[in-house]
C-alpha cells in the first residue's frame, strides 16, 4: 500500500499525460470544455495533495527532519517549498490563459494545441520538481490511517478523490 500523498502525486502526473492525449482528440471525441474540466479537477486534486503534504512534513509531525548542515537551512527549505507550490498554481493559470486567449470557438488548431501542450509539460515538470521535494521532506508513519484520512472515508471529498485516483492510476 502507498500512502495517500504518493497515490495522489502519481495520479496527478498520469492525469496530465491523459490531458495531453485528450488534446489530440479535441474535435473528434473530446471538447475544449472537457479539457478545462480535467484541469479544474487536477487543481482540486492538487489542493488535496497540499493538505496531505502538510500532515507529512517530517519536522512538523515528529521533528525527525534532521539537517546536518552547519547553517540552519530548514526555514529556507520550507520557504522554498511554499514558493514552488505557488509556482505549480502559476503554471496552471498559464495553461488556462493559453486556453482562454488562443482557442477560438472551441476549435483547436495545431499551433494552439502545441502551445497548450507546452504549458502542460511545463506544469508537469514543475509539479514533479515539487513532488520530488515533498517526497524527501515527508514521511508516512501509518499508511492505513493516512489513507483513511484522505481517501478511504465516506466524506464527499474522499469519495471524489478516490474515484479520481482510480481513474488516473494506469498509464
Amino acid at each position: 500500500m502507498n500512502c495517500a500523498l504518493k497515490l495522489i502525486s502519481k495520479s496527478m502526473q498520469i492525469n496530465l499525460s491523459f490531458i495531453e492525449k485528450d488534446l489530440h482528440a479535441v474535435g473528434i471525441s473530446q471538447s475544449m470544455n472537457g479539457i478545462e474540466n480535467h484541469l479544474t479537477k487536477w487543481v482540486q486534486a492538487f489542493a488535496a495533495y497540499v493538505e496531505a503534504e502538510d500532515t507529512h512534513i517530517r519536522l512538523l509531525i515528529d521533528g525527525s527532519l534532521v539537517l546536518d548542515s552547519e547553517i540552519q537551512v530548514l526555514p529556507d527549505i520550507l520557504f522554498f517549498l511554499t514558493q514552488i507550490q505557488e509556482n505549480v498554481m502559476d503554471k496552471v493559470s498559464e495553461t488556462m490563459n493559453v486556453i482562454y486567449e488562443e482557442v477560438e470557438g472551441g476549435i483547436l488548431i495545431p499551433r494552439v494545441r502545441n502551445h497548450i501542450i507546452k504549458e502542460l509539460i511545463s506544469l508537469s515538470v514543475t509539479f514533479s520538481d515539487y513532488s520530488d521535494l515533498v517526497e524527501v521532506l515527508t514521511i508516512c508513519h501509518d499508511e492505513t490511517k493516512c489513507n483513511e484520512k484522505f481517501i478511504e472515508n465516506t466524506s464527499d471529498e474522499s469519495v471524489w478523490l478516490k474515484t479520481w485516483i482510480m481513474e488516473n492510476s494506469v498509464t
Binding site: V73, F80, V125, D132
Partner: protein
Amino acid sequence: MPGFLDDIYELEHPIDVMYLMHKVYMKHSESVENLSRSTQNGGDFELLTIQLTEWLDHIYYHTDTEDLYMTGPLKDKELHDGRMPLKENVIEHDIIRDSGKIASDSIVNINTISPISYFSIKDVLSMEEKNHEILMTKVNAVEAELEKMLGDSKLDDTFRRHLYNQIVALKVAEYDHFENEEAFVLPMIKDQMTKLQQLECVEKLLFDEKSENSSWIYDFIETNLNQREADLLISLKEEINKNVG
C-alpha cells in the same frame, strides 16, 4: 499552403523548397521530442544528444542563412493587424536560437552544472533575502542540502525532464516560425525576388559553401523526403546548377 505533414506535389517557385525543408525539419524535431520523452524512462540518451545536435546545426544554419540571403534583401510590408512580417521573422529566429542554446547548454554542461540549478533556488530566496552575500550563503546551503536529500537518481530525473521541457519549447517555437514564414514571408519573396534571385537564395539554403561537405543540408533533406518529393528537390538542384554561377 501545404501543412507540415502533407505530401508536396510541385514547386511552383524555387523558394517553395522551403515547404520541403520545413517538412523534414519538423519531422526531425518531432523525432527528437519523442526521444527526449523516452529518455525519461531510460531511453537512449546518447542518440538524443546526437539528434539534438544535428537538429540545432540545421536550424542555426537555416535561420542565419535566411537572415542574410532571404529576408535581408526584402522590403518589409505592414500587415492589416500592424505586424511587420520581416521584423517578426528576425525576432522568431532569435527565439529559436535562444531556445536552442538553452537545450544545448544543458547537454554541454551535463557534467559541470548540477540539475539542482533547475530549481532556481536563488530566484526564490532573493524574494526574502536582499543582502547578496547572505543570499548566496543561503542559496549554497539550500542547494547542497537538497542535492544530498534528492540524491543522484532524482537529480538525473530532474535533468531529463527539464531537457524535455526545453526541447518541446524549441519545437513549438520552430513550428510557429515555419508557419508564419510560409504564410507571410514566402509570398513577399515571390513578389519581390526574380526566379534567378530565388534560385541564388535557395542555393545558399541548401548548400553550405563554407563547409568541407557543402551538401550536408541538401543530403539531409533529400534523404528524409519520399521519392516524389526527392525528385522535386533533384530537379531544383539541376536548375540551380544550370542557372547559378
